[in-house]
């Protein structure tokens, strides 16, 4: 479940970085337009991957149900962070993805 929530969080961070108004909230410096263009496709890829992981971990019926739950919680967390602590969003996304990938490989 933690894995799903972390992956959902990273997905949502990518979607959010693809939007100009949120990118400026989160990032200190400007980044190249080329990189920005990759955010959304990457976000979709990660979304698909998260969906795959959810099915792989919990099966066809429970997996997608938990996926929606994970996305709800992750998005709530992201929205609150964007409003109150926007600067730590990228760090948190990276840390959570590392934890998520570690727990996948360990288990």
């Amino acid at each position: 479940m933690l894995v799903l929530t972390s992956l959902s969080f990273s997905t949502m961070v990518l979607f959010c970085l693809a939007m100009t108004k949120h990118r400026e909230q989160v990032l200190e410096s400007e980044i190249s337009i080329l990189a920005v263009r990759f955010f959304r496709p990457f976000a979709w890829l990660l979304l698909l991957f998260t969906g795959y992981i959810s099915v792989d971990m919990y099966g066809w019926s429970i997996g997608p149900a938990l996926l929606f739950g994970a996305f709800t919680i992750a998005t709530l967390l992201l929205i609150l962070l964007l409003t109150y602590r926007a600067k730590i969003v990228p760090e948190l996304a990276i840390v959570l993805s590392i934890i998520a990938s570690m727990s996948i490989f360990i288990s």
Partner: protein, 560 residues
Amino acid sequence: MKDNFRQSMKWFHTWVGLVVGWVLFFMFLTGSLGYFYQEITRWMEPERPFIAHEVSTEKLLDTAQIYLNKHAKGVDEWDIMLPNARDQNLRVGWRHLVDSGKQGSRYKITVLDALTGEAVASRATGGGKLLYRMHYRLHYLSTSISYWVVGFCSMLMLLAVITGVVIHKKIFTDFFTFRAKKGLLGWLDIHNVLSVIALPFHFMITYSGLLFFLFTYMVLSTNLQINDEEFDEMLNEIYPGSTHLDSARQPSDMLKVSSLYQQVKNSWHADELSYVEMFAADDINAHARFVRHETDITYNPDDEVTINAITGEVIAVKINKYTGAGIIHNGFFSLHEGHFAGPIARWIYFFTGLIGTAMIASGLILWTTKRKPKQMKKANGPDFGYRLVEQLNIGTIVGLPIAIASYFYANRLLPLDMANRINWEANIMFISWAVLLIYPAFRTAKQAWSEQLLFAALLYFMLPIVNAFTTDKHLLNSLHHQDWNLAGFDLTLLVVSSCFAFAAYKMTSPQLSNKTSAQRNKQVSKRVNNKIVIEKRDHPSVQVTNDSLLPLPQANKEKC
């Protein structure tokens, strides 16, 4: 009819939400608590023992069977429910004959002490189940009226969810947008965010909720189109019951449940067993059904193993046969109730339920916030309708949580030998709610909000303390025994208390001071950006007005 489609949808969303909002708030809050009804019941029966660590499943099964052999001799079926993440006590259940000349029998669960094997005599309490039942079986109303009221409200909720999506112009652009500002803009953002992030849940829970009483709501359709035989056939298809052999009245020695369990262990992982059902015990037809936690939303035949209790052989019958319709129906029920959810998923269910509750609350508050500037300008003060909505808002949004706290207080403080104790627990809950609904009539809105919020914070903070004075199942003891279920309940109460305290603090604290507001402006201007500059120009008053609300025309420019 309003001038265009979106406008009329908006009108519909507003008024539909308002009319049933308070009932929906009640349904969502008690329903969300329902995800933890077993945990709540355990807390409300403090006579139950603490968790017994490191007792093997076999030992638990033996303990239960010894008790059942003594007390449930000759019953058609008895069950052993093993301690699990939700309820950490060993329980047994069977149908008891109703005494005093009445016909029929009633299923009763008895909690056993896993160490001594004795039954635990708990106080009379409605427990979590009563609280959870309230969300579809409105307490004082008759069953059929409740179902119709609940159905009507759910139907309007479903319409509100759909119209809400229609009127949300920038659902993707504003997906992550939440501006923490007082007044209309802030509330609108809160309402949008809470609605959008949990939209799949809102839709699923409302739609599946309607399916529960399908044959009550669609009674005409089923009555007119099909005859009784077809109706029975359809019911069998949707609710496939498990069949089992009845007692042949030929006593026979059966194997111990714990030794039958060895068979099951071969096909399952360790500690997966959830409960055991024994049919025709000590009879030649005796057989046991071992059931583990659900591993599939719809139905997984591997989740149960039936064993002949005389020979110890696995009986290879798949009793339940689900058709497509049955799978969909069962799937929606399971999604609604979250049977498959483990501890973390259960918390997510609970939180998402609370998000739904908060969404309804924010919608109700939004109604008054939007009308406040106009109403405040009226010479004779606000209209009766406006004041009524505000009063009901305060009395429900803060009043209901307080009422629920008083239900818990009643559980701890009412005399144990009181007649009709269960009813009085609920009565006290509703009496407190009634008082809190009336109270705001005598205070200004702001006073009523902050006073009730503070009162809620105080009540929830005191609850673990009252628990410590009245029982031995208090936080220190439960932490010492590592009984996370009981400790979690008390800790959650403290968290709820601090949330109310924070809300009360926000309510009473002076609005954003000019200094912080200026700091914020500075931060924004540092990141010079066309869009932000435009936004600032568009809404200059947002930065300076705090308590006062946005003028309506400007607010209308904002998306809804």
